[in-house]
Subunit: 160 residues, 2 copies
Amino acid sequence: MAKEIERKFLVRDDAWKSNVTSETRIRQAYICAESDRSVRIRTKNDETALVTLKFGTDLLVRDEFEYSIPIDDAREMIGIADGHVIDKTRYTVDFAGFTWEIDVFAGHHRGLVIAEVEMQSETDDPKLPAWLGREVTGDKRYSNQALATQRSRPGLVHAL
Amino acid sequence: MAKEIERKFLVRDDAWKSNVTSETRIRQAYICAESDRSVRIRTKNDETALVTLKFGTDLLVRDEFEYSIPIDDAREMIGIADGHVIDKTRYTVDFAGFTWEIDVFAGHHRGLVIAEVEMQSETDDPKLPAWLGREVTGDKRYSNQALATQRSRPGLVHAL
């Protein structure tokens, strides 16, 4: 079991693109998504796949259990799942001792870009890059779960 | 992905006990349980554990994906899960070329005994042992999902 502690921001501009250290195409869908738990299927580069079970209502810290599964199983389950599939490319950028993940959404949420930093403890205080926009930590509208289950575009992407 | 095809019965008497070939203590809980999907955590003999994702509304044939997970993770998730935990001992009995599983429930559903036979195809026609009671295939009240989520005892155990 891993604790997940993260801060999440909108992204102001493309300055982060010059420091990308990795790039991963992600497709994911939720098998279930309730207020206090979710089960998610994710594929990476259409090569590897994970099932992730998350518990807890605290948006900053949650219990998370994650297991590798066969890619063919994942493809089939994503095809079955309700809600639309989230399709995004995740870039990583190192900044001041922390690794930032920048998710550039395609498909249904095209235009949305979200940056996340994962912390080791709640007292970690990562320095914030200049390309960040408004912080959306705890804003449920930007949770992957909300993005996967809401039917319309968030319409929030411009509110930096 | 495995297809699950099974018939399910109540059990009339204890005659099956003289032919038991295996015995497994099972504890399980549902992470989510909707009409067309469920995610279940199960431990066997408190030694091994599985996460199982099932899809489809047909009670006879369902898509099922199952993965081994660490026993400590399973214990923790069963502790978090809603609904009561199903606690039962599963015995296997071979009869006329088919393996029957007899679930003897403890805890909340003490007194309930259910026999299941798994078939290779829907056209298989297993011979029925004399110790079977009423068939309950397709009776949602006897699904593990219903037994895990309903708050009161089924009260149906005597209706053989």
